[in-house]
Amino acid sequence: MIVFKVKRKNIFWPAATPLLFLLFGLWAGPAEAQLPGFPYPLSQFKLRNGLEVIVCEDSSLPLVSVVVSYSVGSVNDPENKGGLAFMMQYLMFQGSQNVGPMQHLMYIQNTGGELNASTTFDKTFFYETVPSNQLSLVLWLESDRMNSLEVNEAKVARIKELMLANEQERNLQEPYARYFFLMDQILFPDFSYGHSPLGTKESINSITVGDVLAFYHRYYVPNNAVICISGDIKAQKARELVTKYFETIPRGAEAPLYPEADFSSVISSRDQTIVDPMVSTPALEFGLRLDNPLPAERPLIRLFEYLLINGKSSRLYKLLVSRERTALYLSGNLEARRGFISLKIFLLANNQIMINRSKKMISDELNKFKLELVSERELLKAKNKYRYDFLSQLTTTNLARALTLSEFYFDRGQLPDLNEELATIDKITPYSILAMARKYLQEAKYCFVTILPR
């Protein structure tokens, strides 16, 4: 009897109360906040299923961009199933319950709109830009594939074939691309952090429909996603539409925590040479890993990248390309992988002598940051360039803005305060760059890979 009574209580009230509230519209509404310091009205709310929504109003053109981002990327590929996160990007266009294979593409193109998708280390983005009267179409399409992706053996087999063909084509067209992934493996000697997001022939072939479905149900759930809408739309209208299309999609289990990285502090294979008959010009790849920088140090590292390699008047460009002419081509960038940041530099040179000279110049230039203060003038230049790029991303197109806001939200759990972001950069001094360089530019974390034609 006692057991019966307890059960009865448990059945009725927990079940009936929310239902009554739902039926009579008494459920607490989502929170909304207006954020200051931004040139366009910005608001944010969360649906009951955990889906985060950001709306940015800009009526200068009758357009709207929608970015649906999932907190999943190559870091979540299961061991020996490298490429699964990337495969999901393709499969999301292969049809859902109410949208046929590739129809997503057709629907968007017929409106005159554009779409694309991308997968990074820890995020996957799907995005569309359409005339603003077509916002409901985009939300309908995106909600359908979040709610009911249809996957079968034939689709998975087709995508595997496509991925392998693309990989083969990429190796032919961009023979240096594989060395970018090699550098990741050297800098991050751990499967989750260092494997190629594109997978290998073996890992792609080993992926089953079961793997895909498990991955989809685990990560492609509203509580693991953020939608950012930017354009000619009022926040209230956007909220109504997002609620209509997404709120009934069931919440999923909480996504597992990120795999812990376990790297030894010293990087092995710090200087290696590879002879590759596929390449026609000698090349050098440089990598540097910065371990566990504090959030406050990240703007410093960003500015250091501008000083070192960003733009034609950056130190390495002026030295290697303009003055000494040891490099024919030079590029470089930073990449964040959770607690780690990598700096990668790639250059092409005429011969091995130039490669060796470039190597020395890169090391010397990094050392200079540890020994000498950068001039105020040089720092101001880097700050202005950073400021331009930052403002350009947030104010040029709806899509760039929506992507930037989504990334910010994922990385920091909040939207940027524009004034504060720029003030942080303004406060950086030559001394803070020197301190950062002494802390993070450790030769034990440098790595050079020379690629020579046969």
Binding site: L22, Y40, G112, Y388
Partner: protein, 491 residues
């Protein structure tokens, strides 16, 4: 009993509530998820407020006022391009345009780069047949300093011989690479043939002539054409015309005007081309370019031409792509385009295919063109094309430099001031009859066909073609092929 009765009631109520909720929920989900929603009415794009004025130097200043951007975009359009290069020196306009960023009398090339980056200023150059377009973008707070730097590029370029050699070398290798690309070299050959005999250079450059360009040539081109009374500045940002004119007139005060003589551009006429031109170059792929002359921008046929282009090859859902790639698997891609020049326009199709399929590709394209001339256009297809164009128009103006360019070229091509604001209105009234009328007016049954790629590898699939003229990479006729038989081979 009482307890059991109460339980039954609550149990039933829970069940009922669950059932009602599930039914409501399922029904509503089914309803809106099953089919795509109807769109709201289209909100036509309006060009932001524009003001225009003329400085005493003859420089036209146009402002696009926007209050919510912390950046400025500035376009300088010089109304001279490759068509103004001397006939024996094609490429001079491009080299001269590039040299303006390569040093002034007071700043070296690297000092300019340094200053530009210090101001948060980026720049790019585009040279066309009729104009040179400099596009700059910079931080709002650096407006005056940026204008001063940009102004100095125009009034005191140094034309150093060292920089000139580097610019020529870079440009030479670009042209050599272009010649190896079947699509780009095919398009250049197509342009040369379309404008043959008119004396007009549509922007085709011979890499060998680049070597002959001297400092004196570049200085002379600058003196003659890169003048304020031949230029337009479009400034897009948080500024009005008066303020912009004041700042620009100060920054560009030393840029002096000179008398100009702009020769008129002849109008090209469509011919019936009885031979196919084959540009023979080593490549595993084959490019096909087929096209006709059409009216210049701003003509009464402009919007109907846009619809015609969209129907045939404007996007992957147009006829050519669906037919050649999706349905028949003959091509990697198939698109059509409209290109505009002063007083002229071109409609052209580009297809990337394989040597084995090229004959079939040409046949299919000609058949698609003929069907436009003969068969009534399905109203649904027409509306789909118009809907695409209407929806895509704001996407083509997303970047501030795209908008500034559109406004600037409105002056270059002397389009009416309300031309872009009437875009939707004029698009909506295009009927299938008008599209067919335009097709019949401009699309000849024997358009110019240019194929570029490996001729020997393509020969088998082209045996049915009556006559093919085979050209080498220099554009010199080297052989003729009639019904698959190659004659007059000079190799």
């Amino acid at each position: 009993m009482k307890l059991a009765g109460s339980f039954r009631f609550k149990y039933c109520l829970t069940g009922l509530l669950l059932l009602v909720f599930c039914l409501l929920n399922l029904q509503s989900q089914e309803r809106f998820r099953r089919n795509p929603p109807y769109p709201d009415p289209l909100n036509p794009m309006k060009v932001p407020p524009i003001e225009s004025g003329l400085l005493t130097s003859g420089l036209r200043v146009v402002t696009i006022s926007r209050s919510n951007r912390p950046l400025f975009n500035l376009l300088v359009i010089v109304q001279a391009g490759e068509n103004d290069s001397p006939r024996q020196l094609p490429g001079l306009a491009t080299v001269t345009a590039e040299m303006l960023l390569k040093g002034t009398l007071s700043l070296s090339s690297s000092a300019i780069e340094e200053q530009m980056e210090s101001l948060g200023l980026t720049g790019s150059i585009e040279v066309r047949a009729d104009y040179i377009l400099y596009s700059f973008s910079f931080l709002e707070e650096n407006l005056e300093a940026s204008l001063r730097l940009i102004g100095s590029l125009f009034y005191e370029p140094a034309f150093s011989s060292l920089e000139l050699a580097a610019v020529k070398r870079g440009f030479y290798y670009q042209q050599v690479a272009r010649k190896k690309d079947p699509e780009k070299s095919g398009y250049d050959f197509f342009l040369t043939r379309m404008f043959a005999g008119t004396g007009y250079n549509p922007g085709v450059i011979d890499e060998d002539s680049i070597r002959n360009i001297s400092q004196k040539d570049a200085m002379s081109f600058h003196q003659r054409f890169i003048r304020p009374n031949n230029s337009i500045i479009v400034l897009d940002g948080n500024i009005n015309l008066n303020n912009a004119s004041l700042k620009i007139s100060r920054a560009f005060s030393r840029w002096v005007s000179r008398p100009l003589d702009r020769p008129s551009v002849p109008r090209i006429r469509n011919l019936n081309y009885e031979t196919v031109a084959f540009l023979d170059l080593p490549s595993p792929d084959v490019s096909v370019i087929i096209g006709n002359a059409v009216s210049p921008p701003g003509s009464d046929d402009y919007h109907a031409l846009l619809v015609l282009n969209q129907l045939l090859g404007g996007s992957p859902s147009s006829r050519l792509f669906l037919n050649l790639r999706e349905s028949k698997g003959l091509a990697y891609y198939a698109f059509s385009h409209l290109s505009f020049f002063k007083n002229n326009g071109l409609f052209w199709i580009r297809v990337k295919s394989s040597p084995e399929s090229v004959g079939q590709v040409v046949k299919e394209i000609l058949s698609q063109l003929n069907s436009l001339l003969e068969e009534r256009i399905d109203p649904h297809e027409l509306e789909k094309a118009k809907a695409f164009l209407a929806g895509n128009f704001p996407l083509e103006n997303q970047l501030p430099e795209q908008m500034a360019r559109r406004i600037g070229l409105q002056f270059v091509f002397q389009l009416p001031s309300d031309f872009w604001n009437k875009y939707y209105e004029n698009l909506l009234i295009v009927s299938s009859e008008k599209v067919q009328e335009v097709a019949r007016q401009y699309l000849t049954r024997q358009p110019l066909v240019v194929i570029s790629g490996d001729f020997q590898a393509s020969l088998n699939s082209l045996r049915a073609v009556n006559r093919i003229e085979i050209y080498n990479q220099k554009g010199q006729l080297k052989a003729i092929c009639e019904k698959g038989v190659v004659k007059n081979e000079n190799r």
